[in-house]
């Protein structure tokens, strides 16, 4: 059912060597390829538009849900709406992500719109990897939208990674946080050649004692362009911190715009942002270990984006 290209894409985006354990849904070129529900986690296709509903029953813990998407045909534009209902007290790992293999001259695009309702005290770890490959001239485009609603005491840990291969990405993330909820976002991005990446994260710290920590690390190479916007909005007693850190190489162009907005004197919001070259003494140090300059740079970037 899975050919070598499919398997390679799945390995890159979800670390899968074959069909995963637990609940999963694999989508290829706009159609469902395989799906499995397990006890406590039900995956059903939507009836009004493309996409699936993923329902995790209250109290389900230690389970995982894999929902990778792959595109291997040129000229596909796949739009999908997925809704996650994470029951109170549940604790699950969700591995999403999209891989595009484009050998043709037409654009291949995937727009994944994910909405999460994370109920009282529930927790998710969400890992989303984006990856592109293929020798064609057609663009590889990924435009994800992620909306999260965190109820009281809920936790969401997001890991969003895109390393090479995606020509164009516009990523929107919107988070609404209830009282005592916690958000951790780790974004890792490497663009090269003429690639373009735009990321806009807005976090509404609505509930009392909610907290958010957003860390973005990126590397821009060649003539690629990156724009980061991260906004934290504090409505009451809450805590938020944004760190945007970029390494600029070649003739890249990087804009970093952390924004803090306090609607209350009890909101504690901070940010730090930096854009700079790779440090010369780090490269030299690794060369004194016997690495060539290219190997040293590759190693530094690998560590930085880990």
């Amino acid at each position: 059912m899975l050919n070598q290209i499919d398997k390679n894409l799945l390995k890159e985006i979800a670390g899968l060597h074959d069909l995963p354990q637990g609940a999963f849904n694999i989508r290829k070129n706009g159609v469902g390829l395989a799906r499995q529900s397990v006890e406590g986690i039900t995956i059903t296709p939507k009836t009004d538009r493309p996409g699936i509903d993923i329902v995790v029953d209250p109290g389900v813990t230690g389970q995982s849900v894999h929902i990778p998407v792959i595109l291997t045909d040129t000229g596909v534009h796949d739009v999908v709406y997925n809704t996650f209902e994470i029951g109170a007290g549940a604790d699950v790992l969700i591995v999403a992500g999209c891989g595009i293999h484009n050998e043709g001259s037409e654009k291949s695009q995937h727009d994944g719109i994910h909405e999460f309702f994370i109920r009282k005290g529930a927790r998710i770890r969400y890992v989303e990897k984006h990856y592109g490959e293929g020798g064609g001239t057609g663009e590889r485009v990924l435009n994800p939208v992620t909306i999260l609603h965190l109820e009281e005491g809920a936790t969401a840990e997001l890991e969003m990674v895109q390393i090479r291969g995606v020509s164009n990405t516009e990523r929107k993330t919107e988070v609404h946080q209830g009282p005592h909820s916690r958000l951790i976002v780790n974004e890792r991005l490497l663009t090269h050649e003429q690639q373009y990446a735009y990321s806009d994260i807005v976090v509404h710290l609505e509930g009392e004692q909610s907290s958010a920590e957003v860390q973005s690390r990126s590397v821009g190479q060649d003539r690629s362009v990156q724009i980061f916007k991260v906004g934290l909005i504090g409505y009451g007693p809450c805590k938020g911190h944004v760190a945007c850190d970029s390494i600029i190489m070649g003739a890249a162009d990087i804009r970093s715009q952390p924004e803090l907005w306090a609607k209350s004197g009890d909101a504690e919001l901070t940010h730090e942002a930096s854009i700079g070259k790779l440090a010369g003494d780090q490269i030299i140090k690794l060369m004194t270990f016997g690495l060539t300059e290219e190997e040293a740079i590759r190693t530094l970037l690998e560590g930085y984006l880990k």
Partner: protein, 244 residues
């Protein structure tokens, strides 16, 4: 044998050229332990950087076992076993100690890494997965730096102020490790840049560098009067342009 022959070093300071080293000639023999000492700004670190290939001299030659290596890159010298523990080692985001040490010597076993870490007082259980970033203390970073150089079959080990920031209790352990590692090696040249008496007293030869020039070289007996007189006082005169 490692030899520096008539090394001059000039560096760019803005639009000005500054002469940092002046006609440095030094011979280092296999199996011997050398200490380079002298006042701040005298040129010790610059000599280390010339040996490791970080600085290219304006004049002079560097010879390793009869072969000229002056034009060799940092990488080539490292591969031939010339290793340099920095005075101020840089920090790295996302690289942990285990990875860092394997970068220094990829063929080294996990067991060997653990035993070296234990010897320099970085208990592997607590430190192997620590990231080599600014969360490591100055003394921890310094010990790691020394471990990265002495871990493998290094032929020329240059240690730039290994004692800096290392506490009194760990210092003896660190010194013993450096000395034992030297004694157990097969003809390693160990060059320690230091002001510390406890290194000076184990040196086969001490080299005093000030004002970019080798001022004196010899055994502890020969150098001791200089130290007692106060190296700083004596060489300050040179800086002021007066005769000592």
């Amino acid at each position: 044998m490692l030899a520096l022959e008539h090394i001059d070093l000039t560096l760019q300071d803005g639009s000005d050229e500054v002469r940092i080293l002046n006609g440095i000639s030094l011979k280092f023999e296999p199996g011997k332990l050398y200490v380079i000492t002298g006042p701040n700004g005298g040129g010790k670190t610059s000599i280390a950087k010339v040996i490791s290939g970080i600085y290219q001299p304006a004049r002079g030659r560097i010879m390793l076992d009869g072969k000229e290596i002056t034009g060799w890159s940092i990488t080539e010298r490292a591969k031939q076993g010339i290793r340099y523990a920095f005075q101020n080692p840089p920090r790295f985001k996302g690289i942990d100690i285990g990875w860092y040490l394997r970068l220094a010597y990829p063929e080294i076993t996990e067991n060997h890494i653990r035993s070296v870490m234990a010897k320099i007082g970085l208990c592997p259980e607590n430190y192997l997965n620590r990231v080599v970033d600014s969360t490591l203390s100055g003394g921890e970073m310094k010990r790691l730096e020394i471990a990265s150089v002495l871990l493998g079959p290094t032929r020329v080990a240059v240690l730039d102020e290994p004692e800096a920031g290392v506490d009194l209790w760990s210092f003896e352990q660190l010194r013993d490790f450096i000395v034992h590692s030297h004694q157990r090696s097969e003809g390693r040249i160990t060059i320690i840049i230091s002001h510390h008496e406890r290194f000076l007293e184990v040196a086969d030869e001490i080299v005093v560098v000030a004002g970019g020039v080798v001022q004196e070289r010899g055994t502890m007996e020969k150098i001791r009067p200089l130290i007692e007189e106060g190296i700083n006082c004596r060489w300050r005169n040179i800086c002021l342009g007066e005769e000592a």
